[in-house]
């Protein structure tokens, strides 16, 4: 795997300069690698991972199971991509099992989500059924625990 990518995946927030220091590359070389990863479509973008409980906007998140009819050409792709285009849709996956698409969506409040479902989603040609589940509490977000670990006072600062 590309060393820049590996370092990114370790998850420690480092500037391109610091990444260069760690990897023995110049800042420009790191930037070029990052550019390349973007061009290849490997690296889609950058977002901070926020604690949903501390999100000031009081956003509501929901997952929606969607049953859709596949089409003769392209199967689920056309409709799935169309649904993905809505800004509220954070993620969209084709699933095996009892339904076809799983959407993760976010909105300012419950009403907005409901609106999205019955105005935008359910009305689409090819969407046969939806089931909406609201998220109540996050325990782990993209690999990060929400509960903070206690400070480690007992670990000695120096040991042999």
């Amino acid at each position: 795997m590309n060393p820049v990518l590996k370092l990114l995946l370790e998850g420690e927030p480092l500037s391109t300069e610091q990444m260069g220091q760690v990897l023995g590359m110049s800042e420009t070389e790191v930037a070029m690698e990052l550019e390349k990863l973007k061009d290849q479509g490997t690296l889609l973008g950058w977002r901070p991972i926020l604690n949903p409980a501390l999100d000031d906007d009081e956003n509501v998140r929901a997952v929606i199971e969607v049953k859709i009819s596949p089409e003769r050409e392209g199967g689920f792709d056309r409709l799935a991509e169309r649904i993905s285009k809505f800004d509220r849709v954070e993620s969209c996956y084709l699933m095996s099992g009892a339904y076809d698409l799983l959407l993760v969506i976010r909105a300012e409040n419950l009403k907005r989500i409901a609106q999205f479902v019955f105005e935008k989603l359910a009305t689409l040609e090819g969407v046969n059924a939806t089931a909406t589940h609201f998220m109540l509490k996050a325990y782990k977000e993209q690999g990060y625990f929400i509960a903070r670990a206690a400070a480690d006072e007992d670990k000695p600062a120096v040991s042999p």
Binding site: P3, K6, L7, E10, E12, L14, Q18, Q21, V22, L23, G24, K155, P156, A157, V158, S159, P160
Partner: protein, 389 residues
């Protein structure tokens, strides 16, 4: 003056206390110091291993175990050692589960040393080697290793250090604090020397999995060596399990039996929860070990490169999570350098002399730390060294 001193045994009173403990005390007083002085992983034990301990506790596993350790653990260790080191040991008679490598070293020495017996060890080395020998009323003879040789053991120096009465040779590769390893050819020469002088070898291989360049070879795997080597290993480092206090020893049945006697009367058995956790670690831990090792590897490359850039000559440690840069260019003594660095920049590293006289002129920096800490600390060291000029 306290008079209770008169109760303390002579050989214990004689153990060095050294300035190191005082230095450690200063560091622990200092609130916001960045410490590269920690001799343990910065990772917490992988969850699947912690979970195994929790499960065992839930199941009510709170009893003593067989003195030798749980049979399922000894079986798993036997398989692991065979697959990864190439030696085959019987779980019944040739493996003993201990409270860390620390206890394994202690009971191995107590099992074989008669008062006055001599023990060769290479230094700089882990702090407990010399005192452990002293505590058995043996006599420890240090053989220096040097930076010129990337801290591999110079076999000629070992041979030259031999004298009548030497019974044991203690080895530790990869080495704390130098990160040195020793290649097969040298191990073969050492093995030949051990046969010639009829020595027993205690081989502490607690960092074996954390070998970055090339393959780790255990001296116990060389032809004819199995029965004169006690192989010591543990879970503290590669599995990040220091607090579990769990390790093991493998060797000829007579030696393991002798160690067993000491263990049985002093320790009884290793804690059952740690044994359960170790069983999970040795059976299913390879992926976790590989993940941590990969991160150490990258940090090693960074740290070694930085020290060289700063003008502190540093070989890239082939194993462990320690770099051992030279401060000879600064003209300072190790302790003065480290105290000065702590005062000026609040960065703690361990003076090389903590690990033996030939550690003078070096310090140990642990790279078991986040990149950010490593970057900040090496930048601070650069400023400090620059300001010395």
């Amino acid at each position: 003056m306290s008079t209770a001193n008169r109760f303390v045994a002579d050989h214990v009173a004689g153990l060095p206390r050294s300035g190191i403990r005082d230095f450690f005390a200063i560091v622990s007083q200092m609130k916001d110091a960045i410490s590269l002085g920690i001799g343990e992983p910065d990772f917490v034990t992988p969850w699947h291993i912690r979970e195994a301990a929790i499960y065992a506790l839930e199941q009510g596993k709170t009893s003593y175990t067989d003195n030798r350790g749980l049979i399922k653990l000894r079986r798993a260790l036997s398989t692991y050692v065979e697959e990864n080191f190439g030696m085959s040991y019987s779980p019944d008679t040739e493996i003993l589960v201990t409270v860390g490598v620390s206890e394994a070293i202690d009971i191995a020495l107590r099992a074989v040393i008669n008062p006055g017996d001599k023990v060769l060890y290479h230094e700089p080395c882990y702090v407990s080697y010399h005192p452990s020998v002293t505590l058995t009323h043996g006599q420890a003879i240090g053989v220096p290793t040097s930076a010129e040789d990337n801290f591999a053991l110079d076999v000629d120096k070992v041979i030259a250090a031999w004298e009548p009465g030497v019974k044991v040779l203690m080895l530790n590769f990869p080495t704390n604090p130098t990160g040195g390893v020793t290649d097969r050819a040298k191990l073969e020469r050492l093995a030949k020397f051990a046969v010639e002088k009829d020595l027993l070898i205690l081989s502490d291989e607690v960092y074996a999995e954390l070998t970055y360049d090339g393959q780790h070879t255990s001296i116990a795997s060389l032809p004819g060596m199995r029965d004169r080597v006690i192989f010591l290993h543990g879970f503290s480092k590669a599995w990040a399990m220091t607090g579990f206090r769990i390790g093991f020893a493998c060797g000829a049945p007579e030696l393991i039996e002798a160690m067993m006697k000491v263990h049985q009367y002093s320790m009884m058995c290793a804690p059952i929860l740690s044994q359960e956790a170790a069983t999970e670690a040795v059976t299913n831990g390879a992926e976790s070990v590989a993940r941590m090792k990969e991160q150490y590897h990258r940090r090693r490359d960074f740290v070694a490169r930085r020290f060289n850039e700063i003008g502190l000559k540093c070989h890239a440690p082939e194993g462990t999570f320690y770099a051992f840069p030279s401060i000879q260019s600064t003209g300072l003594k190790s302790m003065d350098f480290c105290k000065g660095l702590l005062d000026a920049e609040k960065v703690a590293v361990v003076p090389g002399t903590a690990f033996g006289p030939s550690g003078e002129g070096f310090f140990r920096a642990s790279f078991s730390n986040s990149y950010e800490q490593l970057i900040t600390a090496t930048d601070a060291i650069e400023r400090y060294v620059g300001g010395l000029g």
